[in-house]
Amino acid sequence: MIALWYGILAFMLTTYIVLDGRNFGVGILHWIVARNQDERRQVIAAIGPLWSWHEVWLVGTGGVMVMAFPRLMSASFSGCYLALMLILWCLLLRGISIEVGGHLSDRLWQEFWDAVFSNVLLAVLFAAALGNVGRGVPLNTEGTFYLPFFTNFGIRGNVGLLDWYTVPVALFGVLTLTAHGATYLTMKTVGPVHDRSVKLARGLWLAVIPAFVIITVLTWFVRPELLAGIAVRPVTWATMLIGIAGTYAVVNGFRYQREYQALLGSTFVLFGILMTGAAALFPVVLFSTTDPNLRLTAADCAAPDYSLGIAAAWWFPALILAVCYLVIIQRHYSGKVNVSKDNQGLY
């Protein structure tokens, strides 16, 4: 039951990052692929109608985390207090910028909100947070910790959120999500925005390959347990296969201009990387940088079986419902963005 809920939690967080990650990526690329107001409206409209549906995955992840692993939620959320608050503020500004940017047809107003929208911090913070999960946090004997933004940039002992390992991970995250976002834009846009996105996406994906190798090597130095976990745990082979299939789809998609296939591939690549990481981590949920014995496992943090059982009984139907909503609604948003007929003036 604990492994099931660990899997669900990893799945939900991964889904959130895959879905909203492309919005982060689009935000970062916004000013590069779109050079004038009309083009920028097109970009915003590409992510407009469903951003809150994506953000709900984060809310759902938070809810599932406190339900299934209360101790993990309480330790990690309070331990990363400032970073999480910064994420909340960025999410708030991001949501508002999408919603209000199109409300006035005024150049200054739109430029201002477009600038607010292009926020690189979200990708940095989420990726750095994942880097911290891999590296570990300074857990004490009570199973809590407190992480400032930075200390001495070392990876052992009294670490901060940013160090020589998590900063490269954050950069890797920014790079990958930007590539993901660019791939999404190739599918949704037309004209010059589309052409620029194609060019960028190709370049970015090429850059992801060496970056991925570097991060893997760094991880091997920092947390050899993770790579050892991959070797012995068959489920990671399946998730790696998803990643490899995704890579193939991305390459193929760009070669034959099958934009939908490229996006699907890029989704699978991210999904594969994140789920492999999560599966390799299990059964640990938080490593300790101060004393290896202080680490927290999923079993240490889990709610009692009755709670988990009840929740499993309603979670799966709820997921099916959620997917149904998406299927119903996606038909209306599929295909290229058409700013003029898409809506009643907004976005």
Binding site: L50, M67, A75, L82, W89, L92, T144, I310, N343, Q344
Partner: protein
Amino acid sequence: MENTFTDPALWHRIHFGFTITYHYLFPQLTMGLAWFMVYWKWRALRTGDEKYNRAARFWARIFGLNFAVGVVTGIPMEFQFGTNWAAFSKYSGAIIGQTLAMEGMFAFFLESAFIGAFIWGERRLGPRTHFLTAVAVATGSWLSGFFILVTNAFMQHPVGYALAPNGTLELVDVGAFLLNPWALVQYAHNQCAALVTGSFVISALGAFYALRGRHSEQASVYLKTGTLVGLVASLLVAFPTGDSQAKMVGAYQPATLASMEGLFHGERLADVSMIGQPNVSQQRLENPIGLPGALSFLAYGTFQSYVRGLDEFPKDEGPDNIELVYYAFHLMITLGTIFILVMAWANWKRWRGRLESSTALLWVLMLAFPFPYIATSLGWMTAEMGRQPWLIHGLFRTNNGYSQVVSSGDTIFTLIGFVGLYFVLGLLFLYLTGREIYKGPDGAHGAPGHQEVPV
């Protein structure tokens, strides 16, 4: 126990109190407006009368702005369970996590999938599907309210739990937890109050247009629907839902009831005070004017019922801020009574066929819309401060619930951040809503055949 400025618990409480009070200004209108729009869409389908579609379309735009602010201010609420109230989450996560997760999975997915289609998709979807998206959004918003109220009800009156061997709470009866009697009563009370907010806002805008002599057809729709629902909802808020809520407090939180009424000494024939200022150090209500026996009757059913006073409870087991609980409760009751009177007046005028021509009434309706917001905020202050010093009533103290690792310096820093961001957000919301109101329902937006220049 003493709440001084060096006490981290105080800052965590202010942090949560500020962000939740601000947040709830928006969902109450979301929940209050949602069924109005469903009703108008339904009327439009049935009668083919375009004015109902125009009404739904116009309010959908205000709804959309309101919804967006509700979403972005709502996400910090869930996070704060972990960031600011880590010890509480660890203690009770296995229980309250159920409803928090359900809210995301059942309510938010539904709401957020269809909100875009509802607000911007009318032309693409056709009238029937568009009507269904309105129903989906309304259902989602009311479901979300239910799950949050169940969560709160567990903190007010814990049921369905047991103490686990590791010292945390575990769920033993999910049915009892979800159908907590406190939750059902509180949900009914809260949703009626949301409808009061919705109907006052709609009536106020109708009155505004009527007074200015603009959009008179729309003004009439808003005034008619708004005042009728307003009267029904205002009555339901008081009776039976508010009444049952008070009885619930009397049964399970007697010290809170005593604080709400400023009853320092227990007695039979206990008064409901109409006027009076609690003097906590002297243990008495000053300048009291009350209805004799009314409290005994309201709380326990007979005038002779004995109501326990504050002197019968240990000091650390009752509210630590008696004055605020007392005033919050009394102001809420006063406002609630005024709402009934205003809406009764409006419906009398309507019956006489003079709803849209009575200038005095229109002015009152126009200016009344902020007060339901104040009343709901006061109601929640009564519930939440009345629950003190407990985070989970009788089980877990507020002072044990906050995150030990987060310093007051951090909490104050992020509190300042939230105050600043929310101030700007408020200005933005008022400006954009004001703009919609100024443009009005008969303006450029989305009238059939009209194409606004895409921007």
